[in-house]
Symmetry: C2
Amino acid sequence: MDLPSTTDIKSAALGLEGKARVTPLLESQILNERLGGRLLIKPEMLQVTGSFKFRGAYNFISRIPEDQKKHGVVAFSSGNHAQGVAAASKMFGMRSTIIMPEDAPEIKISNTRALGADVVLYNRKKEARENIGRRITEETGATLIRPYDDPLIIAGQGTIGLEVAAQTRAMGIVIDALLSPCGGGGLVAGTALALADESPDTEIYSVEPEDYDDTAMSLIAGERLANFPRKVSFCDALLAPEPGELTFAINSRLLTGGLAVSDDEVGRAMQVAFREFKVVSEPGGAVALAAALSGAYDITGKTAVVVMSGGNVDGAIFAAALQG
Amino acid sequence: MDLPSTTDIKSAALGLEGKARVTPLLESQILNERLGGRLLIKPEMLQVTGSFKFRGAYNFISRIPEDQKKHGVVAFSSGNHAQGVAAASKMFGMRSTIIMPEDAPEIKISNTRALGADVVLYNRKKEARENIGRRITEETGATLIRPYDDPLIIAGQGTIGLEVAAQTRAMGIVIDALLSPCGGGGLVAGTALALADESPDTEIYSVEPEDYDDTAMSLIAGERLANFPRKVSFCDALLAPEPGELTFAINSRLLTGGLAVSDDEVGRAMQVAFREFKVVSEPGGAVALAAALSGAYDITGKTAVVVMSGGNVDGAIFAAALQG
């Protein structure tokens, strides 16, 4: 497959007009003073379906050929891509089947169902979701929508980069860095691609949970490496085993580096997002904020945009994070 | 004092450009289907300082005569007006003294201090905050900023109504009703004033906590009545004892009616805001949403905007609301 271009991202942005939300940039005077830098968040939990994934899913689905639409779509996802695909396919009157791990957060499973998708649960330890996906596409003729390793998905997520560039330009500021959560790497790849064009001096960092920092390790090694987690992270959205082929081809060229944060740091970032920005972040959505707060990225004297990628978290997990 | 006019609101909006945020309108497809109506929230917890109060405070402070500015400002507030005044006065390089009840939420007291204000705590059962305010203004020459019963404050809060009108017009929809939290009545009065001009067929409702529904009772009686609470509400922002003189003069003319909700209904609305909109609402900020969810306002077949007025809530209270 070809890598997406900046033209593909601009085309995605045109298609998303009036469908996806242009999420604002938010900042907190109190937090900026405490950090000695300027931190702007891009709150994608306010996006349709509560995560950035709607952007890529809508962009992909809008380009499925008419004669294919009636066969529906199928996707595998721990929950945010699931909701994005379910909501977007519904807008086009298409059926969607979503393959989700049975231990996904309750809110992600029930919202995906509420959006009209057929949800197929599987056991992550016993079955390979790719096999289930292949079986369904063969039986039904449905179009498979990969969660990140696809040019149209990457281009859709990249619209965040276009928005950040336009919004910071309107504020009259140049950003030193953008920090983005990273699972399979579609969000950071698309965003980096957009900013390479629009704001070439901005450094781009991927941020991952400790022990799931396959992109960080791969950037150092110069080749795709899988992670070997010794412990489990509660960042359920960011547990992809290795970088995507397309996403890594982009990220290895455009990223300054990869950062990693602990679950404790993520929990504190969720608290700060609650207290200073009044937004709900799921664990995986808060890793980039955690990197700026913990010093993994040193924001002193700098201006940085932190992408917060989603807010689909169960109440009990969120309450536990608030209470430390 | 004269009542504010719609021209005053437009003038406030011009002054707030680039200072206050234009908060978006958010909706949830899942929630709309469940309700059988269309519910849009105006999430003012995303406003500077985490509540709508910054609008009025900034509008007021920007118009203090130059030779008065050096004496600073003083305000009494349970916490949201406090932060609005502290942040706005800091932008003008002015000192602020804020009189707050000692049992105000911790986040409100500490954020007001972090914004540079001198905080004077008092005991709500033993002292009258008006007396403390009078003493400070007499001693220092500081300008007193009332929390709601002032034309410039009402005009500032009314900019929400202008934004709602412009945003719904851009979406091509006409709203049947707007529901607004109500303490002293400044927010709903300003908003009603703006919408009377911009969207005259929209019904406006104030929403208050049960037992603190002085505006609802006063609207029925046709005169200002104080509330006689038999129990305490956790909606700390909405415990004003009676309607303001100016605010009631507006509200008695423009409001369709006043609604009241229980603390349990408010807690459930906080959960829905968390789950469907990914925003943090304080108890008082969620009363209007509670009215739409509980059926106090029947949204079936209707399109309504619900103002969510603030998100300054302590983690423990929020966690308790999430866990029912």
